[in-house]
C-alpha cells in the first residue's frame, strides 16, 4: 500500500515571499500521479498542481511549482510571491495509474500555511 507523509504540520510565510512545503511518499509502483490540493476554511478541495511520475520535468502552474525527486520519493511544493489568499491547509496526494484501486487518492496529513501581511 502507498503512504504519503507531510512532516510539517504548520508553516508560515510573509506576503510576497517564497515558501516550500514538503512531502514524501512510499510506493513500489513505477508510474503514478502526485498532486497538491489546497483546502481553505470553506472545506472545498482545490487542485493546485499535478505531476505525472514518468515526466522528468517539474510541473509549474503560475506561482506554484514542484520539485519532484522520483528516486528520493520526494514531492515538494514551492509557492512564490505568496499572497494572503494562499493561506489554507495543503495536502499532498498520490494516485496509482493501474492496479485494483487506481481510482482513489491517498492523502498526507496536511500542512497549515499561514501568510502574514
Amino acid at each position: 500500500a502507498q503512504t504519503v507523509t507531510q512532516s510539517q504540520p504548520e508553516m508560515s510565510v510573509q506576503e510576497a515571499e517564497t515558501v516550500t512545503l514538503s512531502c514524501t511518499y512510499d510506493t513500489s509502483e513505477s508510474d503514478y500521479y502526485l498532486f497538491w490540493y489546497k483546502q481553505p476554511p470553506s472545506r472545498q478541495m482545490i487542485l493546485v498542481i499535478r505531476q505525472e511520475a514518468y515526466k522528468q520535468q517539474n510541473a509549474t502552474e503560475n506561482r506554484f511549482s514542484v520539485n519532484f525527486q522520483k528516486a528520493a520519493k520526494s514531492f515538494s511544493l514551492k509557492i512564490s510571491d505568496s499572497q494572503l489568499g494562499d493561506a489554507a491547509m495543503y495536502f499532498c496526494a498520490y494516485r496509482s495509474i493501474g492496479g485494483t484501486s487506481y481510482g482513489k487518492l491517498t492523502f498526507g496529513q496536511g500542512t497549515i500555511l499561514t501568510v502574514h501581511p
Binding site: Q44, M45, F91, A93, S101, K104, G108, G110
Partner: protein, 115 residues
C-alpha cells in the same frame, strides 16, 4: 456549470442513530468517490463507484458504513448505529471517469457530529 453538491452541510446526531449523507455529482461524471476527513487530518478513501461496475469498497471502516449510487446520479452514504469516532467531515468527489488522468472535483463536504 454546477459543481459537486452535498447535503446536509452539517449534521448533528445522537450516538446509535443512523444517518444518510447525500452527494450530487457533476452532470456526466461517471465516477464518484467518498472520503472521510477527521479533524486536523488528511482525507481517507472510503468507496468509489465507476459507472455500472461493482464499487470499490476497500476503504469502508466497518459494516456500519454503506453507500449506494443509482446509475450515474446521486449517491447516498449511510452510517448505521453512529459512534462518536464517526464524527468527521465526509467529502464527495466526482470525475468524468475513474481513469487516473481525470481530475476529481470535490464537494464542500458534510460535517457530521455524533454526540
Amino acid at each position: 456549470g454546477a459543481g459537486v453538491s452535498q447535503s446536509p452541510s452539517n449534521k448533528v446526531t445522537e450516538k446509535g442513530k443512523d444517518v444518510e449523507l447525500r452527494c450530487d455529482p457533476i452532470s456526466g461524471h461517471t465516477a464518484l468517490y467518498w472520503y472521510r476527513q477527521r479533524l486536523g487530518q488528511g482525507l481517507e478513501f472510503l468507496i468509489y463507484f465507476q459507472g455500472n461496475s461493482a464499487p470499490d469498497k476497500s476503504g469502508l471502516p466497518s459494516d456500519r458504513f454503506s453507500a449506494e449510487r443509482t446509475g450515474e446520479s446521486v449517491s447516498t452514504l449511510t452510517i448505521q448505529r453512529t459512534q462518536q469516532e464517526d464524527s468527521a467531515v465526509y467529502l464527495c468527489a466526482s470525475s468524468l471517469t475513474s481513469a487516473s488522468s481525470y481530475e476529481q472535483y470535490f464537494g464542500p463536504g458534510t460535517r457530521l457530529t455524533v454526540t
